[in-house]
Amino acid sequence: MAGLRFNVMHFMPYVHLPENHKDYKTTWVNFPNKFYDAEKGHELYQQYFEQLILADRLGFDAVVLNEHHNTVYSMMATPNVVAASLIPQIQRARICVWGVPPNFMMPNRLAEEYAIMDVMSKGRLEIAFPLGTGMEYWSNPVNPVTAREKFRESLKIMLQAWTADGPTKHSGQFYTYRFLNPWPRPYQKPHPPCYIVGSGSPETIDIAAELGLGYSSVFVPQKTAQDLNQRLRDRAAHYGHTIRPEQLPLLNFVYVAETEEEAEREYITHLQRFFEDYARSSPQWLAPPGYLSVEQLKIRSAGADKMHGGFDFKAISNSFFIAVGTPEKVANLIGEWTQRMGTNHINSVMHVADMPHWKAVKNMTLFAEQVIPRLRASGGVQ
């Protein structure tokens, strides 16, 4: 029986939205950065670091960071800077950068940064490769039309940099390396655990399947996520790989309190603001030209995006992986999800939107003390 694994994922949002923020159609890409106050940003980093260090002390298995640009949703435009500063402060838990879109970095340099952190942390680094949301392509000077080809080439270069003794060569559509020979090399052999994260494009899943990497779908409904996990297993088998339960991190939103009423009272407004304000994007931002295939664009434009704007707590909790309530209820829900999704890897967002520090601390503490033991006792996926 594989053991269950529990992560705390943090977006590190900038929570001091201006009063008139609803006048803006989105809080991404072109939401004016004059609204960013560095003094307040500093206080927020302090709080968020405290929360992640606490997660380590409470016994969570990993902390998870990721990258977004031009938005209040996240203050981690370069998550490797944040991850590196956490390494000496987080003694035990694994540190997951899930992750830097390789298209926005030179692949050798990204391979080097990850290797440095893996060595510094004595092999506690984990990595995910996102294509990057549509919003990131509006914010970075990279053509979304060729994003998938470039992404695939970048991954190949990084894996080659880690697995083949250098110097090696690479000659591709986007990059030429005469001497691919990065120092240092990763602590974990052949390289840290790698995943691909995405919102379910078949093209992206196929890359994970071909390379035998893990996959985590984000912001897709439960049923879709289940189908995507199965699709990955099937496609990976086609390429001769077997996907293990721990390679399928299950992104979920969790809030625990003594009673269900208390949990809902303390949590729902923050979750609502997360969807309505922090994740407020637009069809145009979500799908720059060429970012999706025409077929995917048609599918997504037909089913208007539930995640970005519009809020109905009951509907959203039934559709996505959201557990709000007593430790028992939350443990039962997560236990059920792990069985259904065939995973033992629980990746929980425990702070959302403008949630105050005390709620995040309370949430993580109750989860660590009363949810994790229940789930560990029940065992994981067979």
Partner: protein, 254 residues
């Protein structure tokens, strides 16, 4: 009933659809980055010319070719297509992005072009009168910007855009972005425009909301044998707002 006859060719492995009408000297029309407005207006030229309207790869009825990554690839595509159509010399009319392509073609293969017409051509970097950032304008906002009087465009639009319409526009936006996302204009382009020596007509609507009419004199400055026709009250799709533009172009070509 359309005068045009549809022909489907395979050029370098890519389905290329060409509509032709009439007899006489060839008159080739290069469409712009969106094909929603159609080309029926060009039927008026079929009385005097063999009108040839190809769909560029990645647009309209033609297939996709992801290996076409810059405007020059389209120039080379047209060398092959004109060989296949047995077209040697021609009159060339280019609209918007098709105007940029026509000018590029004329720079390199000027001896094949008898007369050139550039209608609100894309591609010149004029910092004082910049082209709108077409890629960054949401689809639902850009459509009304195409003309001065939106009523003139409505017959070509669905009442409510369905998934197929949205998908078709996304595909054409993708083909446009493949060329222009990273470099909306080519700073080296103007230095070669002196090679466009054939009689050239630059047509522009004075109410163009995408590419300002103030760019017209800049084109004329670079092209030695050019005249400018400003159409009052017309937007970007000049002939939609002012159909008499079609006849004016015919007079220039005659």
């Amino acid at each position: 009933m359309s005068k045009f006859v549809r022909e489907e060719l395979t050029i370098n492995g890519v389905k290329t659809v060409v509509h032709t009408a009439g007899k006489g000297e060839p008159l080739v029309l290069f469409h712009g980055a969106g094909t929603v407005d159609g080309f029926e207006f060009a039927a008026a030229w079929a009385d005097k010319f063999r009108v040839i309207v190809p769909y560029h790869p990645g647009f309209g009825e033609s297939g996709d070719d992801p290996t076409i990554t810059d405007i020059h690839d389209y120039v080379l595509h047209y060398l092959d297509l004109f060989d296949a159509l047995k077209v040697d010399t021609m009159n060339l009319v280019g609209f918007s992005m098709g105007g940029y392509l026509a000018a590029k073609f004329a720079i390199e293969h000027g001896h094949r072009i008898k007369n050139l017409v550039l209608v609100a051509p894309y591609g010149l970097n004029v910092p004082e009168h910049p082209t709108a950032d077409i890629i960054a304008i949401p689809g639902e906002e850009i459509v009304p910007m195409l003309v001065s009087n939106f009523e003139t465009l409505k017959p070509s639009l669905p009442e409510k855009p369905d998934a197929d319409f949205i998908g078709a526009r996304y595909r054409e936006a993708t083909s446009f972005a493949r060329l222009f996302w990273e470099h909306p204009t080519d700073p080296k382009f103007p230095r070669y425009l002196h090679r466009v020596t054939m009689p050239t007509l630059i047509v522009w609507g004075d109410e163009d909301k995408l590419i300002p009419v103030q760019q017209a004199p800049v084109w004329r400055k670079f092209i030695p044998n050019a005249e400018v026709m400003v159409v009052k009250g017309a937007g970007h799709i000049v002939h939609r707002d002012k159909p008499e533009t079609v006849e004016a172009i015919a007079r220039f070509l005659a």
